[in-house]
Amino acid sequence: MALLEVKDLSIYYQMHRGDAKAVDGVSFSIKENETLGLIGESGCGKTTIALSLLRFIRPPGKITGGSIIYNGTNILDLSEDGMRRLRGNEIAIVRQEAQNALNPVLTVGEQIAEQIIEHDKVDKNTAWQRAKDQLELVGIGADRVRSYPHEFSGGMRQRVMIAIATANYPKLLILDEPITGLDVIVQRQLLKLIADLRDRFELTIIFIAHDLSVIAENCDRVVVMYAGKVAENSNTSDLYHKPLHPYSSALISSYPSILGERQELKSIPGAPPSLVNPPPGCLFADRCEHVMDICRQKIPPEYDIDGRSVACHLYEHSKEPQV
């Protein structure tokens, strides 16, 4: 059974010029203990989806349609208090930019312990001990429990964020570009830590990134997003070896590979269309190598091909991958 099922989710940002369709009819699901990658360029709606899973969309943003079924319940129907009980306890998030994600005037111990006290109703000493264990677990050391955020480096702060996110042993962990902006060695260490914690706590993870290699190494399935819509939803290895959507394949050939022959990197010409007044038809049409007449007229439906799904007119008459 799917732990999380997002169905036909639409999130619009209401602006003077009209609604910006940041997320438009997105569907995907995650099985328990699965790691799902969410990939796409900036502004494609990845972070908006991450925030919506905790119901953090605030005006001018608005969830205009669809449902988010977590463990059998549509969280969009939950009361504010019911939602609060899920946050941190069942669904946790680690976001980009840990620099300001920690409160500067509280010790990291307090910031871990307060969540444990809130959800597990334990006394202060127990919570404090568990906060120490968490710090030990993420490789910081229990002796730093009374340190303030400014006394840590960027990578260490992100470790603290991970310690907080896993402190209540959540089922679903959302990682929204957790390693962006850190140097590669620290990135590597954090990925290792995340993988360890996933095995230890049997976490289900949504991993948001724009870095293909990170997704390739860590995810079971990948959802490729473009301009607020799902372009392709596939298992990781098939996506890399045989991308279906022209955007997926463009994305992969724009990324250098360490192995194999050195190939010329291709950039994708053009930029994503306006989300306020999108052109009719496929939003990728203007940048697509395989563009056809129908692409500019009709929005492509999702086609199922070998347990993968792709939103592209190329697959209208064929069950076989054509790119």
């Binding site: 941190g88 976001r95 930019e97 409160n103 509280l106 010790t107 307060e114 959800h119 964020m161 907080i164």
Partner: protein, 322 residues
Amino acid sequence: MRNFLIRKVIASIVTLYAIVTANFVIFRMAPGDPIRMMFRDPRVSAEQLAEQTEKFGLSGSLWDQYLAYMGNLLQGDLGLSFWQKRPVIDVIAERIPQTLMLVLTALALAVLIGTFFGALAGWKSGKKTDSIILSTSLTLYSIPSFAMGIVLLMVFAYILTIFPLGGIRTPASGFTGIRSVLDVLWHMILPAFSIILWYVGEYILLTRSSMLDVLGQDYILTARAKGLRERLIRKRHALRNALLPVITITGVNLGFAVAGIIEAETVFSWPGVGRLIYDAVLKRDYPLLQGVFLVFAAAIILANFVIDLIYSFVDPRIRVGE
């Protein structure tokens, strides 16, 4: 912590020294001969004038006067008041308690009321509560405290006659014990309010904007993502950070409070240091003015020292600077 303290103390002493020197120079630069002004009678002999000049520490070169002034200062001697013919230090000392009572009460209440409503407005930003608080505080903030004082005086003391017109005690009442304390408080309400209302406006605006700033910070989203209750987020995460600029501005306000005190004390005939400044200016009592300025400067430096200390306890990032 000890280094931090020592550094602050040294900085305070240097500042005070600079102020004392400037204070000395400014009054020596003022035009006219104060001794001649005091003794305009032509029958006063040159000898007597010289004697008076000596008595008020105005003889000799500027440098000699400066040394004498500093020497006296170190012994707690601020000179003689031209007007009251008494040591300046005595004149000021008997006014200080009344001013402290008025200012500290007013500022403390203003901070409490202002931060409470400011935080509330910031938290409820865009809602009706916010717009009511915001427009009220803008109005209060735009009315100068002397104008507010006169209006309060007219409405509550003259028309409604609920509060006294001025002073600190009911004359010849013979009140003792608790009655006399209550009598003083009763006299203090209007002058205190003329100061409070103005500062409340400022503190509301400041706390509100600081709160809005903090609520947009990443760590508030983190706190929400932890599933904490709103009340806890507001108190522990938002308000604590939002109060940092409030503490800073309170230090500055203690300085600006001087102007407010002069206005309020003069309008309400409150026998404090502010009223004393007003009188000293009218009487051209330079030594007294010089003394009062010095006392105010010392008070502001002391206040800022205390604020720095408080700040270092509230914000852990400051402590690292040591």
